[in-house]
Symmetry: C2
Subunit: 216 residues, 2 copies
Amino acid sequence: MDEKNISGAVIKRLPRYFRYLGELRDEGVERISSGDLSVLMKVTASQIRQDLNQFGGFGQQGYGYNVSHLYDEIGKILGLHKKHNLILIGAGNLGQALANYVNFEKRGFIIKGIFDKNEKIHGKLIRDIPISPMEEMESFMKNNDIDIAVLTIPKTEAVKVAGMLVRCGIKGIWNFAHVDLNVPDNIVVKNEHLSESLMELSYNLNRSVSDKKTGG
Amino acid sequence: MDEKNISGAVIKRLPRYFRYLGELRDEGVERISSGDLSVLMKVTASQIRQDLNQFGGFGQQGYGYNVSHLYDEIGKILGLHKKHNLILIGAGNLGQALANYVNFEKRGFIIKGIFDKNEKIHGKLIRDIPISPMEEMESFMKNNDIDIAVLTIPKTEAVKVAGMLVRCGIKGIWNFAHVDLNVPDNIVVKNEHLSESLMELSYNLNRSVSDKKTGG
DNA sequence: TAGATTGTTAATCGATTAACAATC
DNA sequence: TAGATTGTTAATCGATTAACAATC
């Protein structure tokens, strides 16, 4: 809404800038130039300046960028100054791993509820949050201002559950199921297709040294 | 080695083609045109033809593509016809989740060893594989023809362990630690920075409907 | 053969990099 | 002021889409 249309390529790079700036800030570095940052991050200085300027002039000629200020600004752009309430659907191994990951909470992503259809684990606590039956999801969402659902269930169920979430007014879905969810355009889906990542890695393994190019 | 230089953008799309073709094959579909596949996958037919032609003429004018054959060919391109031996380093929640994920094994990614520095869990079995101390990693790698290491340890340790892996002759690293590993050019690193994904999702949540664009 | 659909070239679009005037 | 470094425009490079001749 506030900014002009920013390309997805730029957005994907913001969290990495955020990470490097956070580390610099923690090391007590006050200012940095696009040139120095480009060496650190192994990207071009031109790209850094171009990217940051999509959002306004955070730098100053002859000086560079104030690390702490730029860090805060990128945080705001990414929406990290706001709290996001999440629910986790699917309390299997992966779901539990994500629920236990404290760093999300530090960034304002708060897991409010955990749901699973397996009644044997209902009531079990994960970081003080009880695992609840799927049937309770709908009313829970109404009462808890949930923005994001994390889907860590098999693909066969994911499509159905995504439909339920949409009806309950979810805004974003972080999808770990290996299936493409078909949801309305105003709902943000971020797929985490780990097996596709591994296949990409596999492809690159078989290339010659010079061809290789991976990372992200 | 065999193919000319293929762009990373194309490679990233191959696993998704592979998935759709696998599903079509399982449904008994024998052939499909780029046009029909483009509708299914929500990409342009032109892109499909362009992508596939990087690797040779898999189709036939007036007919389309043979689903089963194309599936096999893409599998080969991705290196899925070969077995890959993996080790998992870090048997915390996420590591255990990945180790328990059977589908990797189905695609030829076999976890041979699991290592963790926490001695309390040494000897514990995950899918019949005992968790071993880090000290045994080096000799294990020598005796077991390991291609890929899955790094599910905190970022503070990941850099150090990556160095060890390089010295042991690892070919690829699937890195879940939130840090950029600094390894020689001939080693393939695929980063899985989940928190950066979540930030990207967060950014898109705050955009207006029309701006939004996410997915992969 | 006629129709369908590929393989491939050309056109367009978008993203990255280079260059430099503005300015702190 | 002189030097440094941004913000921004222009040039380049790469990726996507359109178009159509080749051909099954």
